[in-house]
């Protein structure tokens, strides 16, 4: 049977250019599913020999209508979707979202919740940076470094599973608190993992920092200046790698960051090596913060005592009618969030993760928009790729740490 079609079939993307500017240039399509990139993204590149002249970056292959779906769920029920934005550090997504809703509600979380959220944010940051560094090192051939780092990350995942019940998608945040308190012995195991983290990260420094191959592949590759980085919307480690200490944890302190002692590591020239090193140093700072937080963590209630958002105790739900109806209304109708709009942002591992919420009153958001760092970074990615070698796309893309879940939403 002849299956040819005379009319041209629609293409999922329309590249910005079909042919090169010169006769001897070639245009190649890399991705969207390429074994050497750990993200579903398509890069159309115009090559002059091995040099990349122009690129056209296409994301969206993981688009799943997240924002539309959220408009159809109560403020609580959409928490599992929030987790799946940046699935390397789901807890930070949860806490940023919860803070935005709490601002609308005018709820102030309890001290224990505040410190615990800070601790878990930093713990997630370590897991996220470990993933990024491990994957980008593996793509350069450093299998040992990958296994060392992912081993520590897996300890963290298992440890978080003890707390939340899931390795990656935790659904642990709650408006006005957290799903449950720490199990017995959790902090002791945390100390052990941090000690092992230090041992293995010291080995990574020994293997990688002054490794000739690594330096040749990353030094002076994917360079961006501070002014350019700001213009293209880069935040987080990429902006800091250019030498500017711009960090929301310091600049607009939220949670318990104002009470902690920590440095903001910066790079010197904004290349791939700096981005690697900034992430490594940030993990050390996170460990330092977690150790302070273990000492600071106060006893006391975890959830705010506010019937508008906090579920009543199960014991009361089963024994008194007020709590039963309270539980029923919170589950069926959702928390009654007053009308208004709010933008709240946290320093996620990749940069500024912002939630813009619009409420018209009632149990579901009227609008929920995510300012995701990965999506903005994809807009500026061509600035990091153009002018370098074809093979440099891999380490540069790795150092940007694009997460499809939050980029494509």
């Amino acid at each position: 049977m002849d299956t040819r079609v005379d009319t041209p079939l629609p293409n999922p993307i329309r590249p910005a250019f079909e042919r090169g500017q010169r006769d001897d240039a070639i245009v190649v399509s890399i991705g969207p599913s390429h074994p050497a990139t750990h993200g579903t993204i398509q890069v159309i590149a115009e090559l002059d020999g091995e040099t990349v002249r122009r690129v056209d970056v296409h994301c969206g292959y993981l688009h799943r209508g997240f924002e539309k779906e959220c408009e159809d769920h109560t403020w609580h029920n959409l928490m599992p979707y929030i987790d799946r934005l940046n699935y390397c550090s789901g807890l930070i997504n949860d806490f940023a979202y919860c803070e935005a809703v709490e601002l609308l509600l005018g709820v102030e979380i309890t001290p224990r919740c505040r410190y615990l959220r800070t601790l878990l944010s930093e713990y997630s940051r370590i897991a996220d940076h470990l993933t990024c560094v491990a994957a980008s090192l593996m793509e350069l051939g450093a299998m040992t470094a990958f296994l060392y780092l992912v081993m520590i990350r897996d300890y963290i995942y298992e440890h978080l599973a003890d707390l939340t019940g899931a390795r990656v998608t935790y659904t642990y945040g709650r408006v006005g608190g957290l799903a449950r308190d720490l199990p017995a012995g959790w902090l002791k195991r945390l100390g052990e993992i941090l000690d092992q983290y230090e041992m293995f990260v010291a080995r990574i420094h020994g293997l990688i920092d002054r490794n000739r191959i690594f330096i040749d592949r990353t030094r002076d590759v994917g360079v961006i200046s501070t002014a350019d980085a700001l213009n293209w919307g880069f935040t987080g480690p990429i902006l800091r790698s250019t030498g500017v200490a711009c960090d929301l944890r310091k600049d607009t302190p939220y949670l318990a960051y104002g009470e902690l002692d920590f440095d903001v590591p910066v790079g010197i020239k904004g290349d791939n090596y700096d981005r690697y090193y900034v992430r490594m140093r940030e993990m050390d700072e996170s460990v330092y913060m977690i150790r302070q937080l273990i000492d600071l963590l106060p006893e006391g209630p975890l959830n705010v005592d506010d019937r508008r958002c906090t579920l009543p105790e199960k014991r009361l739900v089963y024994t008194e009618i007020e709590s039963l109806i309270n539980h029923f209304k919170l589950i069926m109708d959702g928390p009654d969030v007053p009308p208004g709009e709010v933008y709240a942002a946290h320093e996620a591992p990749n940069g500024e993760l912002g939630f813009y919420l619009v409420s018209t009153g009632g149990g579901t958001p009227y609008k929920l928009h995510v300012r995701s760092p990965s999506f903005v970074h994809m807009g500026g990615l061509k600035r990091l790729l153009e002018g370098y070698q074809l093979a440099d796309i891999i380490p540069t893309f790795g150092s940007v740490n694009m997460i499809g879940g939050e980029c494509d939403r």
């Binding site: 293409n11 993307i13 969206g60 924002e67 601002l103 600049d251 609008k367």
Partner: protein, 157 residues
């Protein structure tokens, strides 16, 4: 004592037909669509708002004009954010693009165009970014039903 930057912005940046308010500590400027680019330019050039964070829209089907277009800016010097809002009608959902001021506007405006059909005058590249070529409609508009199905794209072999 120097005046807080938020008060200076509130005094300086409200154009004719605009208004200023505070929302959870953030300065919110409502501006007419034709004044938007001018206000954004002054924010960037005079007041060091060097990060263009975000643009999105809010759909109010019962209201005229129908769409709010919402911008967020951040200043690394003042360490604060400002929200700009403008209203555009359904018949002519057009605002000026911020591409001349911020490179990051390229992608973010593409997304807003995908999702709401807002046209950014001056952004030459409004191809679909999260959606695909041939997608019909603008999914975040309130009249786009969640279970609406798109025409099937033929298998491309």
């Amino acid at each position: 004592m120097t005046e807080p930057i938020i008060d200076i912005l509130q005094r300086e940046l409200v154009p004719a037909g605009g208004e200023a308010s505070r929302s959870h500590g953030m300065l919110v400027l409502m501006v007419p669509p034709d004044a938007l680019l001018g206000v954004a330019r002054r924010l960037a050039a005079e007041f060091a708002f060097d990060l263009f964070l975000d643009v999105t829209a809010v759909d109010w089907p019962q209201r005229t004009p129908r769409f709010d277009v919402v911008y967020h800016f951040y200043s690394t010097r003042h360490r604060m954010r400002v929200r700009l809002k403008t209203c555009v009608p359904e018949a002519e959902p057009v605002v000026d693009s911020l591409v001349p001021l911020y490179g990051s506007a390229h992608f973010m405006e593409r997304e807003c165009h995908d999702m709401y059909g807002i046209v950014f005058r001056g952004n030459a590249d409004l191809r679909p970014i999260l959606l695909y070529e041939g997608f019909q409609g603008h999914p975040l508009r309130k009249d786009y039903r969640k279970d609406h199905e798109q025409p099937l794209v033929p298998y491309r072999g």
